[in-house]
C-alpha cells in the first residue's frame, strides 16, 4: 500500500511539473536560444538589445508585423538592436514560403520542435520580447495591433538604447 501511494504521489508531482511550464516574464533572464533551437543560425547578441518575435505563417497579425520589424531592423540595427523572428510552423515549406514572401531583413529561426516556444510559453500569436543587453526581459508584447504596437516598440527600444549609452 505504501509503495502504491508513493508511486502515485510521484506521478502526480511529475505530471504537475510537466503541465506548468513557467512563462518568460519581465525581469527574468531570457532563455538561451542556441540551446533551444540547435542547428539554427542564431546571431551574436552579446551586449545588444534583442527583440524576439514568435510568429507563424497561419497567423494574420504576424503578416502585418513583418514590415514594422523590417523598419525597426533598418533603423535600430546599426545602433545595437538584434531582431530574431522565431517561426513555430510545423512544416518547413510553410516557414520558407512565408519568409520569402515577407522579405524579412532580420534573422529568422525555425522552431519546428516547439522547444523555444515551450520555454518562452507565449500566450498569444504573435508575441514579442524585448531584452536588454544583460539578457533580462524588459518588455513583452502580446499580439500585434499596428501603429500602436509600433509606437510602443520604438519608445521601448529608444529607452533601452539611451540607458545603454
Amino acid at each position: 500500500m505504501k509503495k502504491f501511494a508513493s508511486s502515485l504521489l510521484f506521478l502526480m508531482c511529475t505530471g504537475g511539473a510537466l503541465s506548468t511550464a513557467a512563462p518568460v516574464e519581465v525581469g527574468r533572464p531570457m532563455p538561451k536560444l542556441s540551446n533551444l533551437v540547435p542547428g539554427a543560425k542564431v546571431p551574436n547578441t552579446s551586449g545588444k538589445i534583442i527583440l524576439v518575435d514568435f510568429w507563424a505563417s497561419w497567423c494574420s497579425p504576424c503578416r502585418k508585423s513583418f514590415p514594422i520589424l523590417n523598419e525597426l531592423h533598418r533603423k535600430y540595427g546599426p545602433k545595437g538592436l538584434v531582431i530574431i523572428g522565431i517561426s513555430v510552423d510545423e512544416k518547413e515549406a510553410d516557414y520558407r514560403k512565408f519568409a520569402s514572401k515577407m522579405k524579412a531583413a532580420f534573422p529568422l529561426v525555425h522552431d519546428s520542435a516547439h522547444k523555444a516556444a515551450a520555454a518562452f510559453n507565449p500566450s498569444a500569436m504573435p508575441m514579442s520580447y524585448i531584452v536588454d543587453s544583460k539578457g533580462i526581459v524588459r518588455y513583452i508584447h502580446k499580439g500585434f495591433s499596428g501603429a500602436r504596437t509600433r509606437a510602443k516598440y520604438i519608445a521601448e527600444i529608444e529607452t533601452l538604447l539611451t540607458k545603454e549609452r
Binding site: L8, M12, S19, W58, D94, H114, A118, N121, A124
Partner: protein, 76 residues
C-alpha cells in the same frame, strides 16, 4: 479504518488523473496551425450555414431562440 483504506487511493488516483488532463486538453497558442486552417472553419460552406440557420430560426423562432427578439406570441 476500512473506509479510509479505500478513500485515500481513490483521491490519489483522482488527483493524478486531473494533472494528466491538463497535459492532454490544452492546445497552446503556437500549436494552433491546424486549427486555423480554412477546412476547420465552421463557416466553410456559406450556403450550408445559411440554410442551417434558416431551419434553426424556423424551428426555434416561436420559442425566442436563435437571437430572435421575443417569441412568436405577437406581444413584442
Amino acid at each position: 479504518m476500512r473506509r479510509s483504506f479505500l478513500v485515500i487511493p481513490f483521491i490519489l488516483v483522482g488527483l493524478c488523473l486531473s494533472s494528466c488532463s491538463q497535459q492532454l486538453v490544452r492546445v497552446k497558442p503556437y500549436e494552433r496551425g491546424n486549427l486555423s486552417r480554412l477546412g476547420m472553419s465552421k463557416d466553410l460552406n456559406a450556403l450550408y450555414t445559411a440554410m442551417t440557420e434558416h431551419a434553426y430560426f424556423s424551428r426555434e423562432g416561436s420559442f425566442g431562440g436563435g437571437g430572435v427578439g421575443g417569441g412568436g406570441c405577437g406581444c413584442n
